[in-house]
């Protein structure tokens, strides 16, 4: 899954720690999501969208490989 969390976070002038605190997760979690190592749950993705005041599709996007079995 393609993520634009890092660019959206920096555009909102938030550090990883600040976003983590607002979403109630650890800094490691933000780092793992931004570097594409972890795909967040729907609840967490919706939290990020609400905090950054964006549509969820502006933060996360399916890639071609996500459709494979």
């Amino acid at each position: 899954m393609k993520t634009r969390l890092r660019s959206s976070r920096t555009a909102a002038e938030l550090t990883q720690s600040e976003l983590a605190e607002k979403a109630g997760v650890s800094r490691q979690t933000i780092h793992a999501i931004e570097s594409g190592k972890y795909v967040p749950s729907t609840v967490l993705a919706l939290k990020f969208a609400a905090i950054l005041q964006l549509e969820i599709s502006a933060l996360f996007e399916l890639e071609e490989g996500d459709w494979g079995n």
Partner: protein
Amino acid sequence: MKHQLMLPAGMKIPALLLFAASVALFLMVDKANFEFAWLHVGSDAFSNNNLTDELALSGVILSLLGLCCCRERIEDEYVRSIRLQSWLIAILVNYALLMIMVWTQFGLAFLGILFYNVLTPMLIYLLVFYLRLHVLPRFSKSGIRA
């Protein structure tokens, strides 16, 4: 792992202290034949025993279990996923090593390995979990920022 089954994050330090004390006691028993006189039980040839080594091993097992079952300060979905993956890696590595030992070590040497095998799943789990959660992200290209 369900939160109800886990210890608070603050229990890590007592568990670490117990682990250090138990390992020290175990080494003293193993290398210097140290025994607490008050832990002597039995009087005949069959039941005569000193329980110092049992106390040391129980301390090591309990402290490792405590460390394995301590929550992180923020126990979120990513930490839980790392925890689960680390248990899986620990079990696979542990039994792969055990299979190698089955075919290469025999007799008393194998019994000695089985003794340490009681502890290795927890030790491998702790190593993998803390490496993946705290150490490896620091060496990644993007890194963790404040």
